[in-house]
């Protein structure tokens, strides 16, 4: 009967609201994978001209990996236009990213004719992949709710010969997997004195003895002494890419590109080299914290090499001295042996033992810095925190691969993070608080002018270790060893990582202050997201307590909280898309030299904001170079030389490439010049050979 049914439903809702630990957070506004799938299919049906839904592969659990290709119809082939790639939730537990990606598609498709977004669709292509880790995607709706990064592959995480035999267990029945503390004097953790919800590390110097062993919530199902160490999820696609891949890490896979999700993504992107800019929605935020090196390899720009004796003799170098790669190449490239065998600079670098790039190139970072300024402004305007910490991407992650190997201008954005608690303004003087960003914008002189007292307070406020007191910092700054921005970067490096550090089963208490901040936010904004410590008894009789923050809420807040961040990020991506590189032929001059001979000179340039190639792309030889070509044929023949001039990259706004040719042409013949690129479009210009002097 109808009445009974709805009565039941109400009862069920009431029951759900009044779960064992009170009202748990609901993620019902987030899209499960099936809904994402339906939504994408719906869009491709409703907008057949703009949207092409591509299935680029399947997850190890057999689910489709989708990319929506969005571009206005007409004009150049969408796969040949400069393109932005936006990929979300390859992490698996970053569902907020999926929402942001869907918001972007929605915004693009709803853009009224003539709007800036519609204009972008006329010139560029958007590849948007809202759910890149389908097997993990629905963990946020799981019962119990546990954070998951792995696909459906079978992995023996603890290499004991058994697969998935010790997953987490919801011991307190609150529907989520949080943390567990077991009384253990060797455990290394204790309750924070100011907030007993927070755990801090034992410390000899601070006279804090350990009281607990801290693990994630669950039984030791396989009785091996480890808790929840083999949870049945598979390889983490976001750890399975080849830049700085972490070997001997079961969740990263036996080798990079092993996970079908990461392999499919690389195949897709490598097969379509028009992507110039990539935004990953994931746990890291490269605009709130500049990307750090993941270690390993070598930095070619400054690395110096000893040339092996035999080669040194051949090249005329001193085998005892050290040279940069450029110095060696300048001599080596002209040797007949090098030329006849088509030996490349990269092969010489390899011969000298050079490693891969490990740091974001300074030129590329300069672009990121500019993006960061605009991004923070936008966050502030949207009422979002712009000085909260941003996490770093991990080894073997998707974003570092996009930058270091695929060669895109790539960045990861976390869409939303727990805001930094607001600072009280200085009561005495009513001055504004000295935020990190404010200091970063100062000159050394301005900062020094604050005086020792204020600087000291600023350093303490930001938890700078005591050995860097105001005096030391001021003397460094006076000596030019550091400037305010460099100092702030370091402070951020030391304190960064809050946003990406796992709340459940990670390293609780490591950033005690940030954790308290997060808990305070959760209490006020996401009721039910924190479970107080509750006593449980483990099967072996050991006493333990279970409690902590919902494993998703730190990255995936209630939808009402997330909404303004979605809009701000869609706008950010649209802003970035407007900066895509675009080549054009700036000038084409044909001068007659008499006798039917002409000098043709063409200048191609990139007047757009971004360079055609990142500096890293040029080093990694990712994407084809910019090529300026004179079309030759019956009417236009080269007197000497070759039809193409090439450049490794054209800088944004100022970059140009000049081609000069000596041709014999029939009077009135069409002189046609093309400029072609992988990811910055193409252009053509035509002139006529004059009647001749």
């Amino acid at each position: 009967m109808k009445g009974t049914l709805s009565g039941l439903r109400i009862a069920a809702v009431l029951l759900a609201l009044a779960g064992p630990a009170g009202a748990a957070v609901s993620y019902q506004d987030y899209h499960p994978f099936a809904d994402v799938e339906r939504q994408l299919q719906g869009w491709s049906q409703d907008h057949p001209k703009e949207v092409k839904l591509l299935t680029i592969g399947r997850s190890s659990g057999g689910r489709s990996i989708y990319v929506a290709r969005i571009a206005a119809s007409g004009g150049a082939d969408p796969d040949g236009r400069p393109a932005v790639f936006v990929g979300a939730n390859i992490a698996g537990y970053h569902n907020a990213g999926t929402e942001a990606a869907l918001d972007l598609i929605q915004t693009l498709l709803a853009a009224p004719a003539g709007s800036p977004a519609a204009k972008l669709l006329g010139s560029y292509t958007f590849y948007v992949a809202p759910a890149l880790n389908p097997d993990a995607h629905d963990a946020i709706f799981g019962k119990p709710r546990a954070r998951r990064g792995g696909d459906a592959m079978k992995v023996d995480h603890d290499v004991d010969g058994l697969e998935g035999e010790d997953p987490a267990d919801d011991l307190n029945g609150d529907g989520m997997i949080t943390r567990m503390r077991i009384a253990d004097p060797t455990g290394g953790w204790l309750a924070d004195a100011t907030d007993p919800r927070v755990l801090v590390k034992a410390d000899s110097m601070e006279q804090r003895p350990g009281a607990y062993r801290v693990v994630s919530e669950g039984r030791d199902d396989d009785g091996d002494g480890e808790y929840n160490e083999d949870g049945g999820d598979g390889v983490w696609p976001d750890r399975n890419f080849p830049h700085a891949f972490a070997y001997s890490t079961p969740e990263a896979g036996p080798w990079s590109s092993y996970a079908p999700e990461s392999k499919a993504l690389m195949d897709f992107l490598l097969g379509r080299s028009n992507v110039a800019l990539a935004v990953v929605y994931g746990p890291a935020n490269n605009l709130l914290a500049a990307p750090q090196s993941l270690g390993g390899g070598g930095d070619l720009g400054t690395q110096k090499f000893k040339v092996p004796p035999q080669a040194a003799k051949m090249l005329g170098f001193d085998p005892e001295q050290e040279y940069t790669l450029d110095q060696v190449w300048e001599v080596a490239q002209n040797l007949p042996f090098i030329r006849q065998n088509n030996i490349t600079k990269e092969q010489v670098a390899q011969f000298l033992g050079a490693g891969a790039a490990t740091k974001v190139d300074a030129g590329d970072q300069a672009y990121l810095d500019k993006f960061a300024e605009a991004y923070k402004e936008r966050l502030k305007k949207a009422g979002l925190s712009a000085d909260r910490p941003g996490a770093q991407y991990a080894k073997g992650g998707f974003t570092p691969w996009l930058y270091y190997q695929y060669g895109a201008m790539a960045l990861e954005l976390d869409v939303w993070g727990v805001p930094k608690a607001e600072k009280k303004a200085d009561a005495k003087s009513g001055e504004e608080a000295l935020t990190l960003d404010k200091v970063a914008g100062m000159t050394s002189e301005q900062f020094l002018a604050l005086g020792e007292e204020k600087i000291d307070a600023f350093l303490k406020e930001n938890k700078v270790p005591a050995q860097f007191n105001a005096k030391t910092v001021m003397s460094f700054m006076k000596g030019g060893q550091i400037d305010p921005k460099g100092m702030v970067d370091r402070i951020k490096q030391m304190g960064g990582g809050g946003g990406g550090a796992p709340a459940g089963g990670g390293k609780p208490g490591e950033a005690g202050a940030r954790e308290r901040e997060v808990l305070a936010w959760a209490e006020a904004n996401a009721p039910g997201s924190f479970a107080a410590w509750t006593a449980v008894t483990l099967p072996d009789g050991a006493k333990a307590e279970v409690g902590g923050l919902d494993p998703f809420v730190e990255m995936n807040p209630p939808m009402a909280v997330l909404k303004p961040a979605l809009a701000a990020h869609t706008e950010t991506v649209l802003d970035l898309a407007a900066k895509l590189p675009k080549v054009e032929i700036l000038s084409l001059d044909v001068a007659s030299l008499g006798g039917g001979v002409y000098r043709v000179k063409a200048v191609a340039g990139n007047r757009a904001y971004l360079a055609t190639h990142t500096a890293q792309a040029a080093r990694a030889r990712a994407h084809l170079p910019v090529r300026l070509t004179l079309q030759t044929g019956k009417d236009v023949e080269l007197v000497t030389g070759y039809p193409s001039a090439v450049a490794d990259r054209l800088e944004g706004t100022t970059g140009t490439l000049t081609g000069e040719w000596l041709v014999r042409a029939n009077p009135g013949a069409k002189i046609v010049v093309d400029v072609t690129t992988d990811n910055a479009g193409r252009d053509q210009k035509t002139a006529n050979a004059g009647k001749g002097a």
């Binding site: 009785g223 036996p254 092993y258 390899g297 990269e346 390899q350 891969a356 270091y404």
Partner: protein, 583 residues
Amino acid sequence: MRPRIPELVFAALALLAAVSPALADPIQPQGNPPAAAFNRLHTYEEVVDLLKGYAAAYPRWTRLESIGKSSQGRELWMIAISNPATGPELAKPAMYIDGNTHANEVQGAEAALYTVDYLLKNYGRLPRVTEMLDRSVFYILPSVNPDGRALWFKGPSDADFPRTVMVPVDDDRDGKFDEDGFDDVDGDGYVTTMRKKVPLGQGTHKIDPKDPRLLVQVEPGELGDWLQLGKEGYDNDGDGRVNEDTVGYVDPNRTWGFSWEPEYVQAGAGAYPLSIPETRAIALWALRHPNVAAVQSYHNNGQMILRGPGAKADPPYPPQDLKAYDLIGKEGEKLLPGYRYFISWKDLYTVHGATTDHFYNLMGAMAFTNEMYNPPADFDKNGEVSDEELMKFNDLLALGRQWVEWRPYNHPQYGPIEVGGFKRDVGRVPEGWALEDETHRNNAFVLFHAYHLPKLSIGDAMVKKVGNDLWKVEVPVLNERAIPTMTAVAVNGKLHRQDVATVAGAKVLSSGLVSDAYLDKIEIQDHRPERLMVPGVDGLSTRTLFFLVQGDGDITVSFDSLKGGKVSKQIALRETGAQRAAK
């Protein structure tokens, strides 16, 4: 509790194997086995025919399997050889052998086939071969790169080309793929070299005064009248460069999963690790065959027995593993006169993403790369083989077979030139009469390596009563060969599951590893005593297991090693007296 019947039977079998009965009978082939000749090279089709021939003649002892397809769709045929009566393949230690990863390094396939032939025909005749086939498995993939092999035999090719697999790569980054490779410009079936006579003063070389077929660089102060123009080819794509975008260029020995670096650091690396079907097929196969504990990958040339690390930045090998590596490598130098046991990065050059580094660093197997052959033409014994000495070898030992005489040719870019030089099977491949010797010696080295696959047995246990129905049992597990059941790199890197010891017939209250049997030092495993995790049994040593059990009668102790096979033994719960098993 009484042990179950199958366990008793298994224990009895193990006991029988341990006393090593009289030599088994040779394998009776069905029909005529292939009469392979190892004094000549074989095309890909001939290699496949031979493999099919062995599989047909020895159906119970072989398993022919295509483990995948090449870039152009050729089958990757692998033959597995083992004694069907001594248990399933995966329960026995295994050796994997491949050849011809680099298309031009052809004779690795012959060396691999030689082992197939040798094992099948000598089982029951030679005790060492018999023992190896009874207790271990051989997986042999003669040609990793069948497409490249096909191209090498047919051309255009030379001694150095192609190494690559047939995946198109735009080497010169002009948007076109493989459009400017080598050409057999004079149509004689060989890619040799081009040279050009020029007016005095325009050249870099002159005719070698000792041999007019050779050019030498001019001495300081001299003018040259010859140019060396490199290998046969045209500027096919009109960009002012010759042979700069050849067929392929992914190097199958730079694509593997360990220490992989992108193209700009490691030429030939491919788009990402194992991006090509050939090596990915092998890597996935290897994941399904964790019993592989020994690996040989045949290459040429230079007469080297190589081990990793491939790059200076890779972790150095742990000393425990070096014991076995050095034993096998140094013995190999004796079996293979002229060969040197080398470390890749230090003694040869840096290699990222090599086959053997993948097998060692990711699979935990002990892997060597043999670089076969060096032209035996150092007549003056100065340590180097000069061009003149190569010519002497051609003239007097090969009676001129190796050399293609200079012939005039009118080249579209260079004008009148001369074309000539050594044939493709010169320099890296022995002449027929030396090939059989080379394949046999390499086979002998591989069999020495395989002889040292871990060989486990359980010795006499020490049993002591410590209470009512309560027994302390110490069980020595002996590995009588050099390769550990778990390499240190596998233990440290958690590459695969550890060896597992279990007890049937009594309740296990506690278990552990005995570190000093005489001083009663035992490392107790804190948890899950019924599943004792053992970080391997080192080569040529004994690992003693400890169990505290509750029960009476007999127990069966089983030891299960991924790479060392499985052994078990029935032990009576009865005081054995004072003698203790040594560590």
